[in-house]
Each structure stands twice: as structure tokens, then as C-alpha cells.
């Protein structure tokens, strides 16, 4: 039962997110826009590039969608409203999102086009920059909750949300999440105006529709992960738990989508240097500080 509810809310969330993205990126609020755009994509020709690696080309977007859905599966929307409450939920989320890299490299390699290929390998560089900064802040969250189960991580924040308990980890995680979802200013793999669409360059029609849907699901999964790990998940006064989850997840996703309007794109070399010199040092310091607090303060 909860599976159906989560899947329906995922579909609704993806639609609302598409509306918000249009609003944030193009400054144009249209409630029916994404529906027409999706229908138009389904009606268009879906071409297969010459001499392409058909298997990689076809599997890339589907694998991306599977990875996003697996990540969503361990995110609780309310008590009991979760697809699978795995005991290793936080670790499973990492494992699922690691396939985003694989899927994008497949999508970049597959069509045998120069721009897509460069974009795919670029994302590998971006992966090396963001990957540790996803994993390390989650460690500090698990230290406080004494569990990797996402439900227990939310329950552990009943007295104080993690965003106040470990603000440094929150900042690092959000930036790394934006890198993972290749959102501007960290949108190297599709780099609008620079790589002719990058990994999206050779995808047309229904295949592009699947790719775009998968990306929406991944953005929702990451916003959900941010809310679960740092913003107290479903916790909040007055409103029902699912209401709080919906508001928080959409607000985080909207914030992530709008940052790109105000910042120039960051080069891969600079992103790598920043992540490893500043980011990893801060993440290690965050683990140490949380370790000391967790021993001294009982909450």
C-alpha cells in the first residue's frame, strides 16, 4: 500500500518539480507546461546515432531512473510511509546513487558523439569531487542516530534538527548533492551553451523524456535525502507528517534549482581542488566535532 502512495507522490513531486524548474530557470510559471512538453517529446522522433553502442545508449537513461527510484525507496515521507525501511538505508542510498555515474558514462559513451563523450568523462571528474562529500557527512549523521536506518535517523532529530547540530555537514552535503544531480553551477555533464547539451546531446524524443524524468527523480531523491538527514524529515508542528515532508522536500529542491541563476558555472579543475582541499578537510573536522558533541551531550 505504502509503495503505491510513495510512487504516486513521486510522480506528483516530479511534475511539481518540473513546474518549479521552468519557473526558476526561465522565470515563467506555467502549470500545464511540463505536461505539454512531455507529450511533445513523446511525439517527436527518437533517433539512434550512427555507429552507436546501442546497449549503452539504451540502458543509460533506464539505469538512471532505476538508480533514482532505488534512492527514493529508502526515504521516509511519514512514519510507516516508506517503500523499504532497510536497516542499512543510508548506505543503500549511497550505493544506489553511485549508479548515477555509471549511467551517465554509459549515456555519454553510447552515442559515439564527441560532445556526449566529453561530457560523460567530465562527470567522472565531477564524481571524484563530490563523492566523498556525500559519504562523509552521512557518517556524522549516523554517529548521532546510532543507526543507518533512515527512519531512525529522522527519529533521532526529534529534539534538535541536524542542520543545527552539524551545520557544516549540512552545507557540504547540499553542495555535493547539487554536484551529484548535475545542477547548475555544477552542471558540467550537460553544460548548456558549451557542449551542445553534453550527455543529452544525442537523445531525442521518448529517450530524452526518460532521461529528463530520471533526472527529476534524482533531484527529488537528493532533496529527500537532505530533508531526512538534516531537516528533521517529517517532524514539525500542526501539519500532518506527510505535509511537512512534502513542503520541506519541494522547498529544498526549489532552492537547489534556483542557485544556478545567481552563480557562474564552476570548472571541473576548480571544483576538484575546492572539494579536496577545503571540502574534505571540513568534512573530517565535522566528523570529529560531531564525535565530541555526541559523547558530551546526550541528545
Amino acid at each position: 500500500m505504502s509503495i503505491v502512495v510513495v510512487l504516486v507522490s513521486l510522480a506528483a513531486g516530479a511534475y511539481v518539480l518540473a513546474v518549479i524548474e521552468r519557473w526558476a530557470v526561465q522565470g515563467h510559471l506555467s502549470l500545464t507546461g511540463p505536461a505539454w512538453a512531455a507529450l511533445a517529446l513523446l511525439g517527436r522522433e527518437s533517433l539512434l546515432a550512427r555507429k552507436s553502442d546501442r546497449l549503452f545508449f539504451e540502458l543509460g537513461p533506464v539505469l538512471l531512473l532505476v538508480a533514482g527510484l532505488m534512492a527514493v525507496a529508502v526515504i521516509p515521507l511519514a512514519p510507516g510511509l516508506i517503500i523499504t525501511d532497510l536497516a542499512t538505508g543510508a548506505l543503500f542510498l549511497n550505493a544506489a546513487l553511485a549508479y548515477v555515474l555509471v549511467a551517465l558514462i554509459m549515456a555519454g559513451w553510447g552515442p559515439n558523439g564527441a560532445y556526449a563523450m566529453i561530457a560523460g568523462w567530465r562527470f567522472l571528474g565531477q564524481f571524484i569531487a563530490y563523492a566523498m562529500l556525500i559519504v562523509m557527512p552521512i557518517t556524522a549523521v549516523a554517529m548521532r542516530a546510532e543507526s543507518l536506518s533512515t527512519v531512525e535517523i529522522v527519529a533521532s532529530q526529534a529534539q534538535l534538527w541536524n542542520v543545527l547540530y552539524q551545520p557544516m555537514g549540512f552545507a557540504l552535503f547540499v553542495v555535493a548533492a547539487m554536484g551529484l544531480a548535475w545542477l547548475p553551477p555544477l552542471d558540467l555533464p550537460d553544460a548548456a551553451g558549451e557542449l551542445a547539451g553534453g550527455v543529452e546531446a544525442e537523445y531525442t524524443g521518448v529517450r530524452l523524456a526518460v532521461l529528463r524524468l530520471a533526472r527529476m527523480v534524482i533531484i527529488l531523491a537528493l532533496a529527500g535525502a537532505t530533508v531526512t538527514f538534516y531537516l528533521g524529515g517529517w517532524l514539525g508542528p500542526w501539519l500532518p507528517p506527510w505535509g511537512w515532508s512534502a513542503i520541506k522536500i519541494l522547498a529544498v529542491a526549489a532552492a537547489m534549482l534556483s542557485v544556478g541563476r545567481y552563480m557562474p558555472r564552476i570548472r571541473e579543475a576548480r571544483y576538484l581542488a575546492l572539494s579536496w582541499k577545503l571540502g574534505i578537510s571540513l568534512a573530517l573536522a565535522n566528523i570529529f566535532v560531531v564525535g565530541v558533541i555526541a559523547l558530551v551531550v546526550p541528545i
Partner: protein, 120 residues
């Protein structure tokens, strides 16, 4: 719910995604098909096939980072079980992991001093 049935659900969802995508492709195909026209299947390189092959060796200029990444990623595999029992074990756990992390951090500093944290 037992662990096994949870993983069965996840597996079922993954298979379901393939079904969903296939049905989308079927729907798109029912609306219309791609018309075969010359030059249409050329990848986006100014309308002609690129002179050089695309699948060539790509110079991974982030090789130094990549090697450090391997070391750090292995370390995270140890961190997760440690994080779960951290509060039970108390100060001992903090000291244990403190030694481990400081050695690792020294490794990062050493790599930095040797120019690993640079686009080569």
C-alpha cells in the same frame, strides 16, 4: 517485513522501471515513427561525421585525485559500522578512529605537497 522480502520489493521495482520505460516506448511508437533521412543519424558535430574517431583514449587529468579517492573510499567502508556503534563504545572509538583519520589526513597532506591535488 523481513530483509529478504524488502530486497525482493526493490528488485521488483527495478524490473517495473524497465516495464514502464518499455510501455512509454511503445506509446511513442504508436504515435509516430522516425523517418529515415540521410544525415539525420550523425551525432551533433556540425552536421558531418567527425574527422577523428570519438572512442579514443581520454586523458584523465584528475588521475591524482582519483588515486586518493580510492584510498578515501575504502576508508569509508570502515567508517559506517564504526559510526553505528560509536556512542556505545564512547571515548575509545573516538581515539581509535582519530588515529586512523589523522594518518589518512596526513596522507592527503602528503599527496597535496607532492602535487596530486592538481589538474595534470
Amino acid at each position: 517485513m523481513s530483509e529478504l522480502s524488502q530486497y525482493a520489493i526493490l528488485f521488483g521495482l527495478s524490473v517495473g522501471v524497465f516495464g514502464f520505460v518499455l510501455s512509454l516506448y511503445g506509446f511513442a511508437r504508436a504515435i509516430g515513427r522516425a523517418r529515415a533521412e540521410p544525415g539525420k543519424d550523425v551525432p551533433a558535430t556540425a552536421g558531418t561525421l567527425s574527422r577523428d574517431p570519438v572512442w579514443v583514449r581520454y586523458h584523465a587529468r584528475y588521475a591524482g585525485y582519483a588515486l586518493l579517492f580510492l584510498a578515501f573510499d575504502m576508508e569509508m567502508a570502515f567508517m559506517y559500522p564504526w559510526a553505528v556503534v560509536y556512542r556505545e563504545e564512547g571515548l575509545i572509538a573516538l581515539l581509535d578512529m582519530g588515529v586512523f583519520l589523522s594518518i589518512l589526513f596526513l596522507g592527503l597532506l602528503y599527496g597535496w605537497s607532492q602535487g596530486a591535488l592538481r589538474r595534470q
